[in-house]
């Protein structure tokens, strides 16, 4: 697979890991946060932690758009779809996320029309094909996904498709990073920046992290070689006491971002004054709502949204895990009341949520390292 397999070349991975070992200061403990859930998933899928020295710690950040969605919003979306002739369309990622009365898949089992779509444009297609129904697309995602929703809304308006609306839960990454850095419990040395969000927003929006917070940040791709090279670049910056934004994912991320995508977003969305992030609380200017010009395609204005706030069970420590203050297994509910099969928090449902990733890929691996060297 071109542009994928080359970045999994074993020999180069070994070489890059060796470079990491050469660069680390044995007297120092490094804490790098990877912001993006896709990076969390990659770390576990490729077993990257096995390749890093013990004093390089990767901390999972809040860049999982499913994980940060408050349960109340899921309840709202499901409530809207319970009306007659409404089709609830969402990405597969949403299907098992628990609302107060069940997940979308459970609602489907109870008779609601729930469809998995791969693309917002597929949701629009559903609307064209089902003129007697209303398709409500439950939109999630950071800036990587928002432009696609925006373009889909533009197309819906241009074509006059009236039986389609979007329940918008798009959030933005910079305020989340700010919330992390503002958190008193946080002690981070550097950031592995979100590669795909950056194809849209470019590298400039991260400059304050380097300039004001004096923390290096490397915008990273998702293959093993990408992430390891990014760690090399971070270590080099720390070694020379620099703090700057670097683009490791050059083959795909333009420094200035994608103007057409940003334009589409600006045309359709505006920032909400504030939005609740699960585990992080209310953050101002951190989420998108649909502009007045597109009100007719905004589920929140087409329908009455209950707007119920649902607080998480006190025992669930999703917030601390999201911020990287706690490791998944340090949450009291991890592996006991909260498992991928009966998740309490979204961090356990989403395949890129740190709890699910840790549970699925790691928690029984204790003796594996020694055993591996015996079977190699």
């Amino acid at each position: 697979m071109k542009f994928v397999d080359e970045f999994r070349a074993p020999e180069l991975i070994t070489r890059t890991s060796e470079e990491i070992r050469r660069l680390v200061d044995p007297a120092r403990h490094y804490r790098f946060m990877e912001v993006c859930g896709g990076h969390t998933h990659a770390i576990y899928r490729f077993g990257l932690k096995d390749l890093l020295p013990d004093n390089v710690e990767l901390i999972h950040g809040p860049g999982c758009p499913v994980c940060v969605l408050p349960m109340g919003r899921i309840d709202d979306g499901l409530a809207l779809s319970q009306q007659d002739n409404v089709i609830f369309a969402a990405f597969g990622d949403m299907m098992r996320v628990p609302g107060t009365h069940g997940s979308p898949l459970e609602y489907k089992a109870r008779g609601m029309d729930v469809r998995i779509v791969y693309s917002p444009s597929d949701a629009l297609k559903l609307a064209r094909a089902n003129l007697d129904k209303h398709v409500m697309f439950f939109a999630i995602g950071f800036e990587t996904t928002a432009p696609s929703t925006a373009l889909t809304l533009m197309r819906a308006r241009a074509e006059g498709i009236r039986n389609f609306s979007v329940f918008c839960n798009h959030v933005t990454i910079i305020p989340a990073i700010r919330a992390i850095l503002d958190s008193p419990d946080m002690r981070l040395d550097a950031f592995i920046g979100p590669g795909h969000v950056s194809t849209v927003i470019g590298c400039r929006p991260y400059e304050w992290i380097a300039k004001e917070e004096r923390k290096p940040i490397v915008i990273s791709g998702f293959e093993p070689l990408d992430m390891l090279q990014s760690i090399v670049m971070l270590l080099r910056q720390l070694q020379t006491r620099e703090a700057k934004v670097e683009n490791q994912y050059k083959r795909v991320v333009p420094w200035e971002g994608n103007r057409a995508a940003l334009k589409a977003m600006a045309e359709v969305f505006q920032l909400r004054p504030y939005f609740e992030w699960r585990g992080l609380g209310f953050i101002s200017q951190s989420a998108l709502r649909i502009r007045d010009a597109y009100a007719e395609w905004d589920s929140e204005r087409r329908f009455d949204v209950p707007g119920v706030r649902v607080t998480d069970p006190k025992a669930a420590q999703c917030g601390e895990v999201l911020k990287g203050v706690l490791k998944p297994h340090q949450c009291k509910l991890f592996g006991r009341e909260c498992t991928p099969e009966h998740p309490i928090g979204a961090l356990m449902v989403s395949s890129e949520g740190s709890c699910a990733a840790y549970y699925n890929y790691e928690h029984r691996k204790t003796a594996a390292a020694t055993m591996l060297s015996q079977t190699a």
Binding site: F3, L12, E18, E19, P65, Y118, T199, V232, M233, K250
Partner: protein, 99 residues
Amino acid sequence: MCLAIPGKIIEISPDNPDSALVDVVSVRRRVDLGLLQDDRPKPGDWVLIHVGFAMSKISEQDANDQMQTLRMLGETEAALQEVKGYGLEEENGSEAASS
């Protein structure tokens, strides 16, 4: 937010310049090119696909440059070791030039 895959443009739809047929390891799907209006890809180009939309063109040149940098990682170190043997290193130690 992050699952995006490289795919090759096979053909642009004759009646819609924003719609292209893309091949991902022999699986094909229609992909929306609306976000790449400013720099339209053509058949044969590689693009990064996320939720059915092309997000960015993939630069083969940059990919090759990256591979080259990575290949040089160990080599630079090996060259340094050799040089150290000649006793020619700087007083404050020298590290390989940054990539």
